[in-house]
C-alpha cells in the first residue's frame, strides 16, 4: 500500500503518511471490475477461471460487469473478426478512464493459428493492450497471473497504455 510510518514524533506509530495516489491505486488494484469480451475458446477458460475451482474473486475481481460503462478492465478473450472489431473498439471507447486491457490467448494477441482474410491479427493494432497472455487457450492460472500483473502495474502507479495519465 506504500504506507510509511511517520517520523518519530512520540505518537508511537499511530500516524501514517502516504500519498493520495497510493491510496487510490491501492483501492483500484484490489477492486478491478472486469468486462469479459469473450468470443471463442478462451471465453470458456475465462468462465472456468471465474467458476468454482479457480475462483478469480480471490483476487478482488469477482464483480464481472457486462456493461463497459461500469468496468475498468477489458479482457479480450478469443478471435476478433473484421465484423467484430468495430464492436470491440466501441466497447473500449465506452469504458471510463483509467482502463486496462488484457489480451487473452494467441488469437486476440496475434491471430493465432488463423492467418485468414477475416481475422484481426492482434487487437493491439486498434486498441492499446497492457498485458498479453500466450496460449491457445491459456490455462486459468495464466489469466489469474495476468490479472495480478495488471494489479502490479496499477500499484506501481504506471498509467495504462493508451491513457495519458491517471488523474
Amino acid at each position: 500500500m506504500g504506507l510509511d510510518f511517520g517520523p518519530d514524533t512520540g505518537t508511537d506509530g499511530n500516524i501514517i503518511t502516504t500519498t493520495i495516489d497510493k491510496v487510490v491505486n491501492w483501492g483500484r488494484k484490489n477492486s478491478l471490475w472486469p468486462m469479459p469480451f469473450g468470443t471463442a475458446c478462451c471465453a470458456i477458460e475465462m468462465m472456468a477461471t471465474l467458476a468454482s475451482k479457480f475462483d478469480l474473486s480471490r483476487f478482488g475481481s469477482e464483480a464481472i460487469r457486462f456493461s463497459p460503462r461500469q468496468s475498468d478492465l477489458l479482457i479480450v478473450s478469443g478471435r476478433i473478426s473484421i465484423k467484430m472489431m468495430p464492436v470491440l473498439k466501441r466497447i473500449y471507447d465506452q469504458m471510463p478512464d483509467p482502463k486496462w486491457v488484457i489480451s487473452m490467448g494467441a488469437c486476440a494477441s496475434c491471430g493465432g493459428v488463423f492467418d485468414t482474410y477475416t481475422l484481426i491479427q492482434g487487437v493491439d493494432q486498434f486498441i492499446p493492450v497492457d498485458v498479453y497472455i500466450p496460449g491457445c487457450p491459456p490455462r486459468p492460472e495464466d489469466l489469474i497471473d495476468a490479472v495480478l500483473q495488471v494489479q502490479q502495474k496499477i500499484a506501481s502507479g504506471a498509467s495504462p497504455k493508451g491513457v495519458e495519465a491517471i488523474l
Binding site: 468495430p86 473498439k89 482474410y117 477475416t118 481475422l119 484481426i120 486498434f126
Partner: protein, 182 residues
Amino acid sequence: MNEEKEVEEQSKPLVLEKLEANHADTLLAQDESRGTVVVVVRKEQAYAVLEYLKTDPELAYTYLVDVTAVDNSQMESELIQFDYARFMVIYQLYSYQGQCRVRVKVPVHENDLSISSVTGLWRAANWLERETYDMFGIHFEGHPDLRRILMPDDFEGHPLRKDYPLQGRGERERFNFDKQNV
C-alpha cells in the same frame, strides 16, 4: 461382368429408380458413392427435381441437411465433365422415412450465376443459401432476403472462391471506425 451388373441393378436405390423414371432427361450423371446416392442435374430443372424428392410420398426427403458450393476452377476433370461450369451447387438431403441420404449437384456457369432458390421447399434453405451467396457469389432467384451473412455488408469479393487469397486483400488491416455503424 454381367453378373455384377445384374446385382447392381437389383440393389439400385429407390431414389435413382424413381428419378430415372420421372426425370431422366435432367440427369447429367449419377453415382452411388459410399452409401450415398449422388445425382448431377441440369440447373433449369434443379428446382423441379428437388421438389419431387421432397414431396414424393415414397421418397420424402423432408430434411435439407446442407446447401453449399464448390469452386471447380482448379479441378480440371470436373470442368471437362460438366461443360466448364465453374461452380457446383450441392444439396444434401436426408429422408427420415427411408433413413437415407441423397446428394444433388447442380453445375452453375460463371457467366450466369443464378439458380432457383429452394426456400419455398425447406425453410432451412434460407441461411444456407445466404451463406453460399456470401462465400461464392451465387445468386439464388426468389430468395426472400439474399444478403451477406458471415461477412460484413460492405465486404467486397467472395472468400471461398479459389481466386480469393487466404490472407484476404487487406480488409483486416483497414478500418474506418467513424463510418462503421455498429
